[in-house]
Amino acid sequence: MVFLSYLISGIGLGSVYAIIALGYSMVYGIAKMLNFAHGDIIMVGAYVAFFALNRFNMPVLLAILLSIIVCTALGIIVEKLAYKPLRAASSLSVLITAIGVSYFLQNFAQLLWTSSPKFFSSIVGNGAFSLFNGELSISYINIVTILTCIVIMIALTLFINNTKTGRAMRACSEDKDAARLMGINVNKTITITFAIGSGLAAVASVLLCSTYPSIAPTLGSMPGIKAFTAAVFGGIGSIPGAFVGGLLLGIIENLAKAYISTQLSDAIVFAVLIIVLLIKPAGILGKKVNEKV
């Protein structure tokens, strides 16, 4: 029973990682770049939701919607201003730009909202379901997080496989030049990808902060790195991969904390990552791509 409770909170944590990992994975799959500013979009989303809920007393759904709109807009602006001019540049330049954007957002947030942490109140209220005579308790937010993650995963898979834009995205990820020859607007497709990824970041931010309530300008960096790890773990570029990677990472982290050592949990997580990558370099669900020289 004790094991089960650790497992469930691990799945909850993993679901948040999975939603964030999706943002990394989609952008990588389509634009072939690592958007390190993704974690900071989460931070902005958290602040927007915090102010909407605590200062303007908006209803929860409206606050989430507002946060999604702001993050989506921010994602598009960042893409247009910082990444689009570098589309022809080497991937290393884009990577450095992404790190630059990340620092810019963090420091800008510090100027705007100061570095003193703020406290986010959970969107579903605090409390827990008690099962088996109170031996197992599952907090409401955990359930909401896991369900949201599943819904997003299904919706996104359907979107990618069944809509015209989704097909355009897949085409871009396979071969940009061929896609352009087929009449696909590659730039627009990449922008849409950023928009979706950033919107998901907003959802993740609300879920993340409902579970871990303290908001600071550096809020996004640790979950960002963990989610990036999850994306690599599951196979970067693959949507089910991000899901599997996120869940596994959350579960391993939680169980390592509970049964081995709280201090070593991160070391264990990354050790598992190294082992997985040694055995399967493309990640758990990643496709093996032969580079043509």
């Binding site: 605590n54 406290f119 959970s122 409390g127 827990a128 579970t211 309530p213 509970a258 709280t262």
Partner: protein, 384 residues
């Protein structure tokens, strides 16, 4: 190349000058320049701000009483960061600091303890409780003193209090493993708990970048702990209270001075802190004349209730003032002369302050009696 260096250096200087500084009082050559640093921004900014405000209040009161500028005060922002406090120290030293209220937090203070010792500037920290601020294993920083309890004192006093007052029988500890303050309190707490027969059923730790404490809380719950000892600062503590509540786990939370400030955080549901114990030498609702005067003056000036960090800082300035008066030193004396005179005073004097009657050992440790307060209706009440 030389030109580039010049440009870089002048840029550095401009940045240093632009760094956050707060000042109070201006005077003549008899004025003693008193400096200090603490976090005015960042996760521990409540402490630095309270220390700065209270010290300034004390400086202004003293100057008014003396009818001239007895002290000139300068306070630098160090963000509680050991990498930034040496910069703050450098700025203060360039300014001509003669005595210091040291640093507000332990980590930042450890980075400058050696400098204070080597430069012979008398330093009295209001709230840096790590013993490394006043002595190391093989060296006594004889010019460094503390107003607050040391970490060992806090750990010992907490274990004794929990045992003697029957706060609980099974204790879980959650501490921050990359923080000297937290680890220091935890270690002495554990030693004392073993000595007095207090059962520790679970020990968990986290690091600064963690935001998820749910596993540690669950483990404490599963171990059947009815008291959770939190020798940590208020920011993670507030998260722990929130996450424990979300899990439906309601033990007694017991903290030390780092928990002070928990009620002032933006967006934090203070109801969650109801019933939290903390060990502190100062309760703002106490009715003695000194406390009432201080709390009223503070509220009038800043519109907020001071924490014990403020009270410690207020005491620090007054203790230095009394020692200076008794030793008959003023701003015309060099920092080193003042330092030697004050060392003599501090090791012999008895100081009546807000936070109790204090005496100091040669090592710089304070001796006064801790009080436990409990949070009730959004305020601190003496627990008895």
């Amino acid at each position: 190349m030389k030109k580039l260096l010049v440009v870089l250096l002048s840029l550095c200087m401009a940045l240093c000058l632009a760094a956050c500084t707060k000042e109070g009082g201006k005077g003549d050559e008899t004025t003693i320049k008193i400096g200090g640093s603490g976090p005015l921004t960042g996760g521990a900014s409540v402490y630095g701000t309270d220390v700065y405000r209270s010290a300034l209040l004390a400086v202004e009161e003293i100057n008014e009483k003396e009818g001239k500028a007895f002290f000139e005060f300068k306070f630098e922002d160090d963000e509680a960061d050991p990498e930034k406090s040496p910069n703050a120290y450098g700025v203060l030293k360039d300014w001509g600091m003669q005595v210091s209220i040291y640093t507000t937090t332990s980590g930042a203070g450890l980075a400058v303890a050696e400098d204070y010792f080597a430069d012979r500037i008398f330093a009295l920290t209001p709230s840096g409780s790590n013993t490394g601020l006043i002595y190391t294993n093989n060296k006594n920083y004889d010019n460094c003193f503390q107003v607050c309890f040391t970490d060992p004192n806090q750990g010992v006093a907490s274990a004794d209090y929990i045992k003697q007052n029957g706060v609980g029988s099974k204790v879980a500890v959650i501490y921050r493993s990359d923080d000297d303050y937290s680890t220091g309190v935890y270690q002495t707490f554990e030693e004392e708990a073993n000595k007095v027969g207090l059962e520790i059923v679970y020990v968990g730790s986290f690091i600064d970048s963690d935001s998820d404490y749910s596993t540690q809380i669950q483990a404490a719950n599963n171990a059947g702990a009815d008291v959770v000892f939190l020798p940590i600062y208020y920011t993670p503590a507030a998260s722990i209270l929130t996450q424990a509540d979300a899990m439906g786990y309601k033990p007694v939370f017991f903290g030390v001075d780092g928990l002070d400030g928990i009620l002032t955080q933006d967006g934090f549901n203070t109801e969650l802190a109801e019933g939290v114990y903390l060990l502190t030498p100062f309760a703002a609702d106490a009715t003695d004349e000194k406390t009432v005067h201080f709390v009223e003056a503070f509220q009038k000036e800043y519109g907020a209730v001071p924490t014990q960090f403020g009270a410690d800082a207020y005491d620090a300035v007054y203790a230095i003032y009394e020692a200076c008066k008794a030793a008959g030193v003023d701003g015309t004396n060099s920092a080193e002369e003042i330092c030697e005179a004050l060392i003599g005073q501090f090791t012999t004097m008895t100081f009546e302050g807000l936070t109790g009657t204090a005496t100091w050992s040669k090592e710089g440790e304070v001796s006064k009696s801790p009080k436990a307060v409990i949070i009730k209706n959004g305020g601190y009440v003496a627990a008895e």
